[in-house]
């Protein structure tokens, strides 16, 4: 079960171990749940690799990261059913790739990277399959925001997400990760293979464009 901490305990927890001082990162999702990672993740991953109740250990990893992965993908894809498919593909790929997962890597950046790639691949395929011009797929998604029964009618959020959908794909990703998931630029840099400077610039442009959208609408 995820460990829920107060907002003040957010982002980093420093834990003194017997041997050395090490940092345990925590992930916050938009439901204000903070999950202890790294140490406990690696313990689960070791369990999976050793084959000792691997299925159960992997289910624990899924439980821990499912919301973060789901909402990250949902913000990009909008539709729940499509998101559900991509989430499942993401975790199945993670399971298959765990064998090659390095001990020094962080599971949360790794799963985030898989989720991002899968979401982008899905959108690319959707654009390829679509009979409408490529840019109109974003308009289609923006339209879906208004009519999807699994999307709240909160007008401010609706406007915000419609504004986000006017951004180029990369800026949209950076904005989601920074604004909603509050991922550090250093981690984003690992996930997206982009320099911290470029990410900051990208976020800055995204914020300005959203502000301008709000001014106009």
């Amino acid at each position: 079960m995820p460990l829920t901490l107060s907002a003040k305990q957010n982002e980093f927890l420093t834990e003194k171990s017997e041997n050395n001082l090490h940092v345990v990162a925590a992930v916050t999702d938009s439901h204000n749940e903070v999950y202890l990672t790294d140490e406990s993740d690696h313990e689960l991953i070791r369990q999976i690799k050793s084959g000792n109740q691997a299925g159960k250990a992997f289910e624990s990893l899924v439980s821990r990261y499912q919301k973060m992965v789901y909402f990250h993908i949902r913000r990009m894809i909008i539709d729940h059913d499509d998101t559900n498919d991509v989430v499942q593909i993401t975790f199945i790929k993670a399971w298959k790739g765990l064998e090659n997962f390095r001990e020094d890597a962080r599971f949360y950046t790794w799963i985030y990277r898989i989720a991002t790639n899968e979401a982008l691949t899905f959108l690319k395929q959707k654009k390829r399959r679509s009979l409408i011009p490529m840019d109109d797929v974003e308009h289609q998604l923006a339209g879906q925001l208004e009519h999807d029964p699994l999307i709240s009618s909160n007008s401010l959020q609706l406007k915000l997400h419609q504004a986000i959908l006017t951004l180029p794909e990369k800026q949209r990703l950076v904005f989601h990760m920074r604004y909603f998931d509050e991922i550090k630029y250093e981690d984003m840099s690992q996930i997206l293979d982009t320099s911290v400077g470029a990410l900051k610039a990208s976020y800055h442009h995204a914020v300005n464009k959203i502000k301008s959208y709000f001014d106009k609408h």
Binding site: N84, F91, I92, L150, L158, H161
Partner: protein, 153 residues
């Protein structure tokens, strides 16, 4: 950590006033409760399918080796047939005049003479069925005058 927080606040402070989208995207009831087991089941199914479809590596190697040998054997047989066919076609293409002008008939006649000589001389270690060239070589090596053979006949 503090610096990081300050950076974040300065980056998105104004936009944070619009709140988060925690309740904006909804999911069907019980979705997250069942998702881990749904994924587990899919993984189990795909693992079983993989196991069912997996073949003993030794059998794989044996099949691969057999296929390669089969291809090599088929290729060898094909080229043998081609070569025999081309030899047959070459033989039938020559006319008597062509054989005569190419010297093949002369060699043939020569061969008959030489074969006759060797059979009469008691097959001096050389097969009468050897090629004309090797018989010629034998005659040269042993300094035998062909004219003498003709005279003997």
């Amino acid at each position: 950590v503090k610096r990081e927080d300050q950076n974040r606040n300065s980056d998105s402070g104004e936009l944070k006033e619009w709140g988060t989208d925690s309740n904006f995207f909804r999911v069907p009831d019980g979705y997250f409760e069942s998702l881990p087991s749904v994924i587990s089941n899919k993984i189990n199914k795909s693992d079983n399918t993989l196991k069912d479809n997996s073949v003993n590596p030794l059998i794989k190697w044996a099949v691969a080796a057999a296929v390669i040998l089969g291809i090599i054997a088929a290729g060898w047989i094909y080229f043998q047939k081609q070569s025999m066919e081309s030899q047959r076609q070459t033989a039938t293409v020559f006319t008597y005049d062509e054989l005569l002008s190419s010297g093949l008939i002369y060699e043939y006649e020569n061969r008959l003479l030489i074969e006759h000589y060797f059979s009469a001389a008691g097959n001096n270690g050389i097969q009468v069925s050897d090629s004309v060239r090797s018989l010629n070589n034998y005659l040269i090596d042993h300094d035998i005058d062909v004219e003498l053979i003709f005279n003997e006949l």
